[in-house]
């Protein structure tokens, strides 16, 4: 059972990381906590469902929806968030307002019934005596490989460095000749795109229903804080910590206590090391 529990933790970590990575990038560069990230994830899952039901191949649908989401991201940044660039509070409120709009669209478009996206691969496999679902293994692999590559890109690739420079100090970056506004848009596009990919993939393992993104987004925040705001590598670490803690507590504790564990982790981190596991103390906490 331990094997299965650890794997459950890895799976949770993977979906949290998938959901949180885009959010971390957007927060890092724009300093806007995009509450609408979850709603975007939900919307993407529904759009993928719609395409797949109309006959599209799964990965084709994911690509198409990612492009659409990226487009939405561009529009949101150019017409909404850009105008409140110096007012993070306004940005926050806008993102909350967006949740309402997207939630309404989803409710009107698809109704309250849960939908099911076909699994990427069926069946289960036995690993070290534990029975685990094959499609979840695939999700973990995709998360590790995909996000690992993304993390590498952010730390090594030139445009990744642009992102991080803008995140750290916008004015200094501007003085260095970095096209800050374009980087902002790029960050939003990447964030929205990641939300779409996350939505599509997660939608194959969990039912596609209106609350899909909302539930994940809360955990995503915890993951980002625990890992360290402003550090995407921290987000991955945070996801691992939170995911494993949650899986272990569900398996070995009664539900009432288990529900408190992710919160407890968050509170402990906030009171002892608020900058997170991988965060550096650049902001005054």
């Amino acid at each position: 059972m331990l094997v299965e529990t650890i794997f459950a933790g890895l799976f949770l970590a993977s979906i949290y990381a998938l959901a949180a990575f885009g959010l971390a990038i957007v927060y890092g560069v724009l300093h806007v906590l995009n509450f609408a990230h979850g709603a975007l994830l939900t919307l993407s899952a529904y759009l993928v469902f719609q395409l797949v039901t109309s006959g599209w191949p799964f990965w084709g649908a994911i690509i198409a929806v990612t492009v659409v989401a990226a487009g939405i991201g561009v529009l949101l940044e150019l017409f909404l968030f850009r105008r409140v660039i110096d007012r993070p509070l306004s940005g926050l409120i806008i993102s909350i307002g967006l949740i309402g709009i997207i939630d309404s669209l989803v409710a009107v478009g698809w109704g309250p019934d849960p939908r099911a996206l076909p699994r990427m691969v069926d069946g289960s496999m036995t690993v070290f005596g534990g029975i685990i679902a094959k499609d979840r293994v695939l999700v973990v692999v995709i998360a590790i490989v995909g996000l690992g590559l993304a993390q590498l890109a952010i730390t090594r690739a030139p445009w990744g460095k642009l992102l991080r420079a803008t995140a750290e100090d916008r004015e200094a970056a501007a003085m260095q000749g970095i096209p800050v506004l374009r980087v902002r848009t790029a960050a939003f596009v990447v964030g929205a795109g990641l939300a779409a990919v996350a939505g599509g993939i997660i939608g194959t393992t969990l039912p596609v229903e209106p609350g899909l993104g909302d539930n994940l987004i809360l955990k995503a925040f915890i993951v980002i804080i625990v890992g360290g705001v402003g550090s995407t590598g921290g987000t991955l670490l945070g996801a691992a910590v939170v995911g494993l803690a949650e899986a272990l507590s569900i398996s070995y504790m009664p539900t009432s206590t288990a529900q408190l564990v992710p919160l407890a982790v968050l509170i402990v981190i906030l009171l002892t090391r608020p900058q997170g596991i991988a965060g550096t103390l650049t902001e005054r906490v």
């Binding site: 906590l33 306004s90 309402g100 709009i101 608020p274």
Partner: protein
């Protein structure tokens, strides 16, 4: 104008206008409208609680609804389990919430800004989780609240049935709201309130002026907890029910939204927030699914064009109007003031 004069003027204006809003409600007299108005008052109170701790003192706390929930459950359990007198139970509820707010206050001394907000989110989440898992608190089904316990008040020949859905309960809500509103205005004008604003704007500067940031912050939490308790207790009596759902993160976001849209920091913002809630969330003739979307659109528009919220927009318009009037008066020779900048 003297300080106390300004205070009195403010109190009059800020109590008079909400009353004016109550007139159409009373005139229509339907149960539906009374309920809308009560719901508006409740949300106005949540916004007021948040305004004190965030608008005045600069601490964004998402735990206000949870504090109200603490008061609500305490009151309900004292009455149902120990048959405590209503007034005492309410006072105990408020007291418990204030105690919990002290915890938050202490945390605010250690963590600032964004991190404190996240901590307040966890505080609220822990509260909801504990209550959801508690048999005494009724788990997700919650507990019933006996509204019949509200007394019938006899003033002279006038009977005031506080339980009545056709006006009595609304009158109670209105009185409560005006009292809390007056409290907020008083706070704004008194030294403690101004100290809160100082701490909000620049804590280092404030402490160099002799303001003890720690005390002020904790005070703001305690006062906001009083308002939150009142809001929570009023809400559960309105619905004759207390469930954890009333105090969830989702609902807290709504109060945040309403306050910012109405105008963070302005004393009359909560009243505006109450009106926005009633108009957009209750009265708007839209299907249930569109309601959040409508609110979202409205919120985004306000935030884009009125960074200081509706209250800020009103002030802007009022300034422009008065400067226009001043200019017109000068041209027509009525005023002897030499410039537009006479205060």
């Amino acid at each position: 104008m003297t300080a106390s004069g300004r205070l009195r003027g403010r109190l009059q204006v800020e109590i008079f206008w909400p009353l004016l809003l109550a007139v159409p409600v009373v005139a229509s007299g339907t149960l539906q409208h009374y309920q809308w108005a009560v719901n508006g008052v409740i949300w106005g109170l949540w916004a007021l609680s948040l305004n004190i701790v965030w608008g005045y003192a600069g601490q964004l706390s998402v735990a206000q609804l949870a504090l109200g929930g603490v008061a609500g459950y305490t009151t309900t359990l004292l009455i149902s389990l120990h048959d405590v007198n209503l007034v005492l139970a309410v006072l105990a509820g408020v007291g418990t919430a204030v105690l919990c707010s002290l915890l938050l206050g202490l945390a605010s001394l250690r963590l600032h800004g964004f991190y404190f907000t996240i901590l307040s989110v966890s505080f609220a989440a822990v509260f909801v989780t504990l209550v959801t898992n508690s048999d005494t608190a009724g788990r997700t089904a919650g507990l019933l609240v006996d509204r019949g316990r509200l007394p019938v008040v006899d003033i002279g020949g006038l009977r005031w049935d506080l339980d009545s859905g056709s006006g009595g309960f609304f009158a109670l809500a209105l009185v409560v709201f005006m009292a809390m509103h007056a409290l907020a205005v008083l706070l704004r004008e008194c030294p403690a309130g101004r100290a809160m604003f100082a701490v909000r704007d620049d804590e280092a500067l404030a402490s160099s002026l002799g303001i003890r940031g720690a005390t002020i912050k904790i005070l703001s939490f305690a006062l906001s907890a009083v308002v939150a308790s009142v809001a929570g207790i009023l809400q559960i009596y309105s619905f004759r029910l207390i469930v954890p759902e009333f105090f969830s993160f989702h609902e807290a976001l709504l109060s945040l939204l309403l306050l910012v849209v109405a105008g963070l920091g302005y004393t009359y913002a909560p009243a505006i927030g109450a009106v926005v809630y009633v108009v957009l969330y209750q009265a708007a003739p839209v299907e249930g699914e569109w309601r959040v979307g409508l609110l979202g659109v409205f919120v985004i528009l306000i935030v884009l064009f009125f960074p200081d919220g509706i209250a800020g927009g009103i002030r802007l318009l009022a300034r422009r109007a008065s400067s226009l009037v001043g200019r017109a008066a000068r041209w027509s020779g009525r005023s002897t003031a030499r410039s537009d900048y006479a205060e």
